[in-house]
């Protein structure tokens, strides 16, 4: 973003409150699923807003404030927060992917989840399943499926090619489907179509080297 003419303090605060603060709920959700802790998430969001305010001259009013904030938060998490809290950088990423290759290849069937009861049963499990994903997959799923960013926006937020965004989404969703299907089956919900040929089960997509 290009620098703009000097903003007065009052003008900076006005833009901050009008365009940046409304995204606090989305940022907090993203931060929570990165840090896996509500207090840490609040710290990360607060740091993000302080950094954004200090750099507000770089923000062009009326542009994509949400994507700008998410990028600041993501950078803050990787560069500062994770080091400070000693979170691992890449949690057994390759091992995890290799372990799940068989699931991905053989059966990614997903239950038809329209029953309200089942939907309620799944509540906590969805969060657990998302939070158990390696950070690279978790991030794209949160940005795409929860926050509705486009592939291009996600690519810019996390500095990876669009093709990698798509492959991570594909793989991450398949892992989630397997986890939720397994949970559903343990709860006694059988899907008669589980063994029906599924396009994802024959799929080679998403197997390229992930960044």
């Amino acid at each position: 973003m290009e620098d703009k003419p000097f903003l007065s303090r009052e003008e900076s605060i006005r833009i901050f409150e009008k365009e940046l603060l409304p995204h606090i709920t989305a940022l907090t959700t993203f931060a929570y699923h990165l840090t896996l802790d509500e207090a840490d998430a609040e710290d990360l969001v607060q740091e993000t807003y302080l950094k954004a305010f200090k750099s507000i001259e770089k923000y062009m009013e009326g542009t994509n404030a949400k994507a700008w904030l998410f990028k600041i938060l993501k950078n803050g998490y990787i560069n500062d927060f994770r080091k400070r809290t000693k979170r691992p950088n890449r949690v057994d990423f390759e091992d995890f992917v290799n372990y799940h290759d068989s699931d991905d290849d053989n059966n990614s069937g997903f239950l038809d989840l329209r029953e309200e009861l089942f939907d309620q049963l799944m509540g906590d499990e969805v969060t657990r399943a998302i939070n158990s994903l390696p950070i690279d997959f978790r991030t794209v799923i949160l940005l795409c499926d929860i926050e509705g960013f486009t592939y291009e926006e996600i690519a810019k937020i996390i500095d990876i090619p669009v093709g990698t965004v798509r492959s991570r989404l594909h793989r991450g969703r398949n892992i989630l489907k397997v986890q939720l299907r397994d949970y559903a089956e343990k709860q006694g919900f059988a899907d008669p179509r589980t063994h029906v040929s599924d396009p994802e089960s024959q799929d080679g997509a998403g197997k390229e080297e992930l960044k």
């Binding site: 606090i24 907090t28 959700t29 929570y32 969001v45 997903f110 486009t150 989630l176 939720l180 994802e200």
Partner: protein, 78 residues
Amino acid sequence: MKEPNNPNDIHNKVSMYLDGALNEEDQDNLLRSVAEDPNISRMYNREKSFRDLIRSNVKRPIVSQEFIQTIKDNIKKD
């Protein structure tokens, strides 16, 4: 658009459609296929159910007014 007939291709189209990443022509073709082909319709419904399940069940921490006020106060004294 070339009509996809491979299940993988169709699934990719469904996925891209739900991600808002299909152009208008491909959208029209896909939606026609969904309306006409029960297998594609089922694939579409399953993928959409999955996306809806994730979106509606993911934990979203509550943001308190106190927290918002703390941020406002901090930037003003920064």
